[in-house]
């Protein structure tokens, strides 16, 4: 009985550990990013960023039924991490959840998620590469940014853009 109880405790520990790892990592990113921003006199909400390096694995707009019929709610943005126990944000995956199997549509590597203001500070040696990554990771994981990326992906998926261009 004691063995079972102990095993349960170990499972509980591991589960709590794994479940809280990523949210608490993101929270630490926020605290660290705010601290760095304060030191540099930056306002995180005012920083403009570029997700133009997002790579699409399928040219959009596409005639694939899974993509053509997808609604905005079907666009799922998933944060991609290195390691389970020691997470580090690696990128943002764009997945279309409509259809039988999820469709990997695009990927934004975090190293290509650039912020001009930080590039400038970095070139002037006011910001280290590690600090840059903390701020860019925090902003890339922010729900507002993910919403914006979702809007952009959905816009690209629409055929009306081409009609307007014509």
């Amino acid at each position: 009985m004691e063995y079972a109880w102990l095993l349960l405790n170990v499972i509980v520990f591991t589960t709590v550990f794994l479940v809280t790892t990523r949210p608490l990592y993101i929270r630490s990113l926020k605290v660290k990013a705010v601290k760095i921003a304060d030191r540099l006199g930056l306002s995180l909400h005012k920083l403009v960023y570029s997700y133009e390096q997002m790579v699409f694995f399928t040219a959009l707009p596409s005639h694939l039924p899974q993509l053509k019929q997808a609604k905005k709610e079907d666009i799922c943005l998933k944060l991609d991490y290195h390691s389970m126990f020691f997470p580090r944000l690696k990128g943002v995956k764009v997945i279309i959840t409509k259809g039988k199997y999820p469709y990997n549509l695009a990927y934004l590597p975090i190293k290509d998620f650039r912020l001009p203001s930080l590039d400038r500070l970095s070139s002037e040696s006011h910001l280290s590469g590690k600090e840059y990554l903390i701020i860019s990771s925090y902003l890339a994981s922010h729900p507002d940014t993910l919403d914006e990326i979702r809007d952009e992906v959905f816009r690209k998926m629409q055929f009306k853009d081409m009609k307007q261009a014509e």
Partner: protein
């Protein structure tokens, strides 16, 4: 009760460890993770009866292997053995051996998982790289197909190399081979002259969310990158002297320069004028024909360049070479279609096209010109000499025009000159200048003309931009008729429109 307390303690330890470990550096983070599992062992030992320390230590060993790899795992196995020995007082070699074996097994699994993960990351990297290249090539091909205009093509090529939606390099410059093949001439460039300027452009692009097409249009409309363009367009590189550009043109192979060579004069010139330190030179090559080079660098973000970049740019440069060749052929055909074969002035078709162009919606003047007694000239001297006169006259007209004026062969011995934004008084001055210069020019057998020299009559008309341009031509024709009727070798004006 004890069990519940222990569960709560385990949850608490997991939560607290995760709350704090991300604020520390990588090593401390790992140490906190290991220490949290060690704390579990201690908690269990203090509060649970009977104790299960011997096998719970496996948990701590596993955490250590995950955190500190093989060596960490071995140390953890040794420490666990020692701890078990001092707490129990009994020597249990089989348990100790199991600890080491367990550490080795966890490491093997970890190694395998890591390998799979690395492989997955590598595949993802290759996939994103190739997809990116494919997307850019597709976008650029599409943009290139929309025009045969060389300038627009060059803008498209350069923008696709520098825009974030494209390849994302900081600067790109195009140098094209001169017609005689002896030099490279700077044609167009995109990017800043100084890094500071680059950050401003970069912020503007990011804030406005400009796409590739927006940037191409923006470049055309705003005449951006003027300073860099002025410097590049001012550069002519002779290929007789030995230089890195001559090497590229001769070999047809790309060149990656990691550091400017102080012994290469041309490289030093690029370094001093453009701050070019680390850069890539790609030849514009199609079917063995070299039409120029593209130079790429990362002045702003100082991102290092490597052969990977060469592989990325080369297909785009090849496509650019094809497009430039096609555009050049198209432009020469278009030129032939709009030019008069004899005089090399624009022809009647070009004139009709100009009348439909926007500039006729603004004030302009027209001069119609006709050679006096040209039938007599042809009858007396033959058509061959008549053609010579037409060519010579076209030269006189061209030299008498101002910058924006356009001359056309209207047909036979009639010529027409379009003068944009020109009021009647100035048009009369231009017409009079032509008349006088023709009168003063010695044309072959001109002395056989009835007046003893070859002369022309000119009719001038003006439009305020609201009238039908073809009506203005009609008025100029009436003025020309008036000049002929009133004695020839003169300028007449149709007034009152």
């Amino acid at each position: 009760m004890e069990g519940l307390f222990l569960t709560a303690a385990f949850v608490f330890v997991a939560f607290i460890a995760n709350t704090f470990r991300f604020y520390a550096n990588g090593y401390i983070n790992r140490l906190i993770f290991v220490m949290s599992t060690v704390l579990l062992v201690l908690l269990e030992q203090w509060f649970a009866t009977p104790s299960h320390t011997s096998w719970l230590l496996l948990f701590a060993i596993a955490a250590t292997v995950v955190s500190f790899h093989f060596s960490g795992g071995m140390i953890a196995a040794a420490l666990s053995s020692w701890y078990l020995w001092i707490t129990t007082g009994a020597m249990e070699p089989s348990v100790y051996a199991a600890y080491f074996l367990f550490a080795g097994s966890v490491y093997a699994i970890r190694y395998y998982v890591r390998k799979i993960r690395q492989q997955r990351d590598r595949w993802l990297e290759i996939l994103t790289f190739n997809s990116k290249q494919l997307n850019v090539t597709k976008d650029v091909s599409q943009a290139m197909q929309e025009t045969f205009n060389t300038k627009r093509l060059l803008e498209t090529i350069l923008t696709s190399m520098t825009a974030g939606h494209g390849l994302g390099y900081n600067r790109a410059m195009i140098f094209l081979l001169s017609e005689d093949g002896n030099s490279l001439k700077g044609i167009m460039a995109t990017g800043p002259v100084r890094a500071e300027e680059g950050f401003k452009i970069w912020e503007d692009i990011t804030a406005n969310r400009y796409g590739l097409t927006d940037l191409i249009d923006k470049k055309e409309a705003e005449k951006s990158d003027q300073q860099l363009n002025e410097i590049v367009q001012d550069m002519t590189i002779p290929l007789q002297e030995k230089s890195f550009l001559r090497d590229v043109m001769e070999s047809g192979y790309p060149l990656l320069i990691k550091e400017a060579d102080t012994h290469d004069g041309l490289m030093m010139r690029f370094y001093h004028t453009l701050g070019l330190k680390e850069f890539v030179v790609i030849p514009l090559l199609h079917q063995g024909v070299k039409s120029g080079v593209v130079i790429i660098d990362n002045l702003v973000n100082q991102k290092p360049l490597n052969m990977h970049d060469v592989d990325i740019i080369t297909p785009l440069a090849t496509q650019a070479a094809i497009a430039l060749q096609q555009a050049s052929q198209y432009e020469s055909v278009e030129r032939m279609a709009l030019k008069d074969g004899l005089t090399n002035l624009y022809n009647q078709r070009a004139f009709q096209q100009s009348l439909s162009d926007d500039f006729c919606a603004r004030p302009f003047s027209i001069i119609l010109l006709d050679i006096d007694f040209f039938k007599n000239y042809n009858d007396t001297n033959g058509h061959m000499l008549g053609n010579e006169v037409l060519v010579q006259l076209a030269g006189v007209i061209t030299k008498s025009l101002r910058g924006d004026d356009l001359a056309y062969r209207f047909g036979g011995e009639e010529f027409v000159i379009l003068l944009p934004h020109t009021p009647r008084d100035q048009a009369i001055k231009v017409a009079e200048r032509i008349r006088k210069r023709v009168e003063e020019t010695a044309f072959p057998k001109g002395e056989l003309q009835p007046e003893g020299k070859l002369t022309v009559s000119l009719g001038v008309a003006e439009s305020d931009g609201t009238a039908d341009p073809f009506d203005t031509v009609e008025f100029a024709d009436q003025a020309l008729y008036e000049a002929k009727e009133s004695g020839k070798n003169r300028v007449a004006v149709k007034v009152g429109m």
